[in-house]
């Protein structure tokens, strides 16, 4: 089984973001970066699938500036066999532009499965995987919370409001991963050492044309500071009064 996983390098979200002077991007000064959450789940799922199959290997691809190689190295140290860096100083917001470059790289890779996160945690669009699937004319199953590959076909579950959908699909396929399959493993020391010797190919990204642009980014209005109204059950009557008269939700 040969699997490719597309991973994006994103800022860690545990900060108060600032807006860059252009007004069209987040100020990147001082941010810490890591693999996007759902992409981490996808890498873990890919490793488990190849381990279970006892054959084949997982590859990772990331598009972005040179620093994405750190993220690719992390995937290599988790156990991925090979990494490809599609070099581009800009990472456009438009998922199609990114998908064109990814699809060009994936096209002749002979992959049984091409995996994505269900959405990037910064862009939060969930579009790239659909564009890649269409460009490669492959079936796509979006937001899998469980996934099995058996006898040359796949089955998955997707979460929907109030339940789930059981899906079956043919291979080769594109799948995007929701939380629920597996938490990403931490790279072991041995993994980190061996990652240094694993292949990391660097190629120029062939970005597609752009139809969707960012005009402006803003911070949402801050919430009013929290307020503690009292302690224990004694505070309940005051809470109910506030819910009725001030918040008017009761």
């Amino acid at each position: 089984m040969k699997i490719a996983v597309c991973i994006k390098r994103v800022p860690e979200m545990d900060v108060n973001f600032k807006i860059a002077p252009s007004g069209k991007a987040v100020d990147e000064t001082g941010l810490k970066w890591d693999m996007s959450d759902f992409d981490g789940y996808a890498v873990e799922a890919a490793l488990q699938l190849t381990e279970k199959a006892g054959a084949g290997e997982a590859h990772v691809i990331s598009l972005g500036p040179d620093v994405v190689q750190e993220t690719l190295r992390k995937a290599l140290s988790m156990g991925v066999a090979r990494a490809v860096h599609l070099q581009s100083d800009v990472v456009p917001f438009d998922g199609y532009a990114i998908a064109s470059a990814l699809a060009a790289e994936l096209k002749d890779g002979g992959y049984d499965l091409i995996m994505f996160g269900k959405m990037s945690i910064d862009g939060a669009s969930g579009v790239v995987q659909f564009a890649v699937a269409e460009m490669l004319d492959l079936p796509i199953v979006h937001a899998c919370s469980s996934l099995r590959i058996e006898g040359g076909k796949g089955t998955a579950r997707r979460e929907i409001e109030g339940g789930g959908e059981l899906v079956s699909f043919t291979l080769p396929a594109v799948v995007s991963i929701d939380e629920g399959i597996a938490r990403p493993r931490y790279p072991s020391l041995k993994g980190i050492m061996s990652a240094k010797k694993k292949p990391l190919d660097i190629k120029p990204a062939q970005l597609g044309d752009v139809r969707l642009t960012v005009e402006k980014v803003e911070l949402p209005p801050p919430r009013a500071a929290g307020r503690i109204i009292g302690e224990g059950a004694a505070a309940v009557p005051e809470l109910v009064r506030l819910l009725q008269n001030e918040a008017k939700v009761l």
């Binding site: 945690i121 959908e165 819910l243 918040a247």
Partner: protein, 329 residues
């Protein structure tokens, strides 16, 4: 004259609330360009009976496609049908819902037509030759204003982002056959597993009562269930600590890697308020927190916080809510 197309989501032959939101949004856009609203409705035999309800919210044409294979969501056949309709008409924009289904259908359809698409949109307007929308990113910490060029522009609308408006449309019904067999396809939904259908969905409930690890055991969720029942119009949510323990299903999880919700009232019980949890509920209109630790970060975002033991405060609150509900009736 360009028109606007809306996808009206139905499940089990019933329209979902988001269907009316999509049609309302399409009506607003169509009024801007002076065109008509066309709504697409797919489902098993009998679904077409719901067409009139869409007309009440402004649909001029309801394109109905009934097929036994549409009983479950048929991703490829549904996208093919919408794409075919778009190709055959003059559409300025296509509105989907950013529901579980719409998050699949909207980008799937857009990819087939190579249309510009913005997902999980919270506001939208036409401005000259562009569709301009707001799209939250960075776990809701940054709002993007995006510009989509080309026609049709596609968007999926976040549930609850707009209020539905009744406005009669012409309501002409057109029946069409599926363009691809909904039962075949490379991707097929073999079963839709639904929990208790009387339960309100987290995305639609005006009130959410959520429990965290502070509740200590699955059976103690009875406390939040009872409080939700006292409110009447409430759903129950949970943190990842809780879904990890298996006390509640993953579908109840609210946060960065769970559901994103913005109810009128969010009651957090025994929840510390980790950044990843806040990412899913920070936009609630009113937040109440009940936690025994007065330093818990949840109190930084809570409009009303009570420091105390959930096992004492929640039953008292449940009784008080019941009483308040009775006296207002």
């Amino acid at each position: 004259m360009p028109n606007v197309l809306a996808f009206a989501e139905a499940r089990g032959g019933e329209l979902r609330k988001v269907a009316f939101e999509a049609v309302t949004a399409a009506r607003q856009l169509a009024d801007d360009v002076g065109g008509e609203v066309h709504a697409i409705l797919v489902g098993p035999a009998g679904t077409g009976g719901k067409a009139a309800a869409l007309a009440e919210f402004g649909a001029d044409v309801i394109v109905v496609s009934e097929h036994a294979g549409f009983a479950n969501y048929a991703p490829e056949a549904t996208a093919a049908l919408v794409a075919e309709r778009v190709k055959g008409g003059d559409y300025r924009a296509v509105v989907f819902s950013a529901s579980a289904q719409g998050k699949d259908l909207a980008p799937r359809t857009a990819a087939k037509l190579r249309s510009a698409i913005a997902t999980d949109v919270t506001s939208f307007s036409l401005s000259g030759d562009a569709l301009v929308v707001t799209h939250p990113g960075y776990t809701g910490k940054v709002m993007h204003t995006l510009k989509l060029v080309g026609s049709p522009a596609m968007l999926s609308l976040r549930a609850g982002a707009i209020t539905t408006v009744r406005k009669a449309g012409a309501g002409r019904v057109e029946s069409v056959a599926p363009t691809a067999d909904p039962g075949a396809g490379r991707v097929t939904v073999t079963e839709t597993v639904l929990g208790d259908s009387k339960k309100l969905d987290l995305g639609e409930a005006p009130i959410i009562v959520s429990g965290g690890r502070g509740l200590k055991a699955a059976e103690n969720f009875k406390l939040v269930e009872d409080l939700a029942a006292a409110f009447g119009n409430a759903a129950v949510g949970a943190t990842r600590a809780v879904t990890d323990e298996g006390w509640r299903p993953h579908s109840d999880q609210i946060g960065q890697t769970g559901r994103l919700v913005s109810p009128d009232l969010y009651v957090a019980v025994g929840i510390s308020g980790a950044i990843q949890h806040l990412a899913g509920m920070r936009t609630a209109k009113c937040i109440v927190a009940i936690n025994k630790d007065k330093e818990a970060p949840i109190f930084k975002v809570a409009d009303y916080g009570i420091v105390g033991d959930a096992f004492e405060v929640v039953p008292a609150l449940t009784a008080a809510v019941k009483q308040a509900k009775q006296s207002t009736h």
